[in-house]
């Protein structure tokens, strides 16, 4: 597969993507906020859902609802089939080798906690090291910190430069004989930086160290091929890629998952239980204890279908153009500074303004119907690195348009007017 950059270059000449063709599929985009048409630019927090996903949830409860992997009755069989069918779709979507490598769980956060709790607890010990980067979301920091506190291991952080790019020489230097696992965001939620994860995985693998990628902000924006990336784990959330909340996927290489102990115990993850001994179920069920979020899993299946119906590379290219346009017009506003200027970015535009706090900007934009996020974006160390308490973050999805970016620019001028 090509890199993100290749996708962008190759699509320059191809047929474009027209967001107006999909906007109609998202009912919420037709609503108003404070009497203004909603301009939804908080997609990194969660994306809106297309009609097909909403219908899939509704349909599941109306026509399929029953528990899976249990009953012999028809409904249970149908529900199980639908649930397991989504595993096929997920495998294809990220090009995993086998359905055994696809674990359904609550989201990116739970995926990372699973790896830290299971792989980490069995492979990381006193004096060992876990390596992350300076641009991680709290969910790719705290589980590792907890692991380190429990085991006496040390958390190492590869620093980022003023553009918001990980300093690769430092990253490489920090990998040593004590490093037991590396965890990296594919795309930063606070800055938009696309990390060169394929290279970073290769560097870690050269030292024999497995790598977890936090794909929460990558999956919504470009094609993912876990085999091409060669990562050992890949975690992402449905709700950031047009699917429901409460469901996400952890990919893990079969060989590694097989060697890992279960993360939680309960029903579904066992083959047989006596009071003396439990035999665990095979992959992937070993990691899916209890009744899962069946409806939401069906929902993420609908999200995969929705995305598979689009020319995915054309979408990436369109979104990239939109981000470039937004960076130009917003970056040109006097007294405004873009935070995060990496060479490769996806989906996110963070900025600060002289003399106006992000929180005030957020309130004023909201009155104009524009939804952005203000704050530290669950990435306080990133804010610290840039010496700011917070930013305003506009984050984009495939249904956003240049007109909406122009609305944002007008909104920012309203901020200036209020604060003169």
């Amino acid at each position: 597969m090509q890199t993100y950059q290749d996708i962008l270059t190759s699509k320059k000449s191809g047929p474009g993507f027209d967001p107006d063709l999909v906007r109609g599929s998202f009912p919420i985009l037709n609503t108003t906020v404070h009497g203004k048409k909603l301009v939804y630019l908080d997609n990194a927090a969660t994306t809106q859902k297309p009609e097909s996903v909403i219908k899939a949830l509704d349909n599941y409860y109306r026509q399929l609802n029953s528990n899976i992997h249990r009953g012999v009755h028809s409904l249970s069989e149908k529900a199980t089939e639908a649930y397991e069918g989504v595993r096929d779709k997920a495998r294809q979507f990220i090009n995993a080798a086998s359905n055994m490598e696809i674990i359904f769980l609550r989201g990116t956060t739970e995926g990372i906690n699973l790896v830290a709790g299971s792989y980490g607890r069995s492979n990381v010990g006193q004096g060992d090291e876990v390596l992350i980067t300076g641009l991680e979301h709290h969910s790719n920091i705290v589980p590792w910190q907890m692991l380190c506190n429990q085991t006496g291991a040390v958390l190492k952080v590869a620093p980022i430069d003023d553009k918001g790019e990980v300093i690769l020489s430092e990253f490489e230097r920090l990998i040593g004989p004590k490093t037991k696992i590396v965890a990296i965001a594919h795309v930063s939620n606070a800055l938009g930086t696309v990390n060169p994860v394929k290279r970073m995985v290769a560097i870690a693998h050269a030292h024999g160290i497995p790598v977890l990628l936090d794909g929460a902000q990558a999956v919504p924006h470009f094609r993912i091929d876990v085999r091409d990336l060669d990562c050992d784990f890949y975690a992402f959330s449905a709700h950031k890629m047009y699917g429901p909340t409460g469901i996400g996927i952890l990919y893990g290489k079969q060989r590694i998952l097989e060697a890992m102990p279960p993360y939680q115990g309960g029903g579904d993850m066992i083959r047989s239980v006596t009071f003396e001994k439990t035999i665990f179920n095979d992959l992937p069920h070993k990691f899916e204890a209890g009744t899962p979020s069946i409806a939401d899993t069906i929902g993420i299946g609908a999200a995969f279908d929705f995305l598979n119906g689009l020319d995915w590379d054309a979408v990436s290219h369109y979104e990239h153009e939109l981000l470039v346009y937004a960076s130009e017009v917003i970056g040109a506003i006097p007294g405004l500074r873009i935070v995060g200027t990496a060479r490769e970015k996806a989906g996110v535009l963070s900025f600060v303004m002289d003399d106006v706090h992000p929180h005030d900007i957020g309130t004023i934009l909201d009155r104009e119907g524009i939804a952005v996020r203000t704050g530290h974006h669950c990435a306080q160390p990133v804010m610290l690195r840039f010496g700011i308490p917070a930013t305003v973050r506009a984050s984009f999805a495939l249904y956003n348009t240049k007109e909406e970016v122009d609305e944002l620019v007008r909104g920012i001028y309203t901020v200036k007017e209020v604060f003169h």
Binding site: P358, H359, T363, T374
Partner: protein, 149 residues
């Protein structure tokens, strides 16, 4: 725009730009931090209390216009007030920003009136109240930092 103007009154913008009593207070008898974890507002409030009276008050820190102006206005109102009077002002202010104070004359409110618009912006009540909560806890001689969460 009119609601925004009601929130961002001239007084608020002016206090945000030039906060009063914005410094560390030497010889403070009470010092307390207040922060709003969600948006990162973070202030330190200094009080000098003698005979149950606020003889001096100041603050430092950073945050949004609403939280900063509120802290600034508060410091200008509290100097020379007794603890009971300060407590009374806290209650008035709290009712004002949560929309529980209707039909009160602007004379009674004095400078606090500038914050009447906050009640239309529920997400901002925490910003407006941060310094006030911090002040009240400091008067109660509490030492735990105040968090609005």
């Amino acid at each position: 725009m009119s609601e925004l103007r009601a929130l961002y009154q001239e007084i608020i913008l002016e206090h945000n730009k030039k906060p009063r009593n914005f410094r560390k207070l030497e010889h403070a008898t009470r010092t307390l931090e207040g922060y709003n974890p969600l948006c990162g507002d973070h202030y330190t409030l200094y009080l000098k209390i003698e005979n149950d009276t606020v003889v001096d008050i100041s603050f430092e820190g950073a945050g949004c216009a609403i939280s900063k102006a509120s802290a600034s206005v508060m410091t200008t109102m509290l100097k020379g007030k007794s603890k009971d009077e300060a407590q009374g002002l806290f209650e008035t202010f709290h009712k004002l920003v949560t929309g529980e104070l209707k039909d009160i004359s602007f004379e009674t409110l004095g400078k606090l009136a500038a914050f009447a618009g906050v009640s239309e912006f529920p997400a901002r009540v925490k910003c407006a109240s941060l310094a006030w909560h911090t002040m009240r806890n400091a008067l109660d001689a509490q030492s735990e930092p105040v968090s609005t969460e």
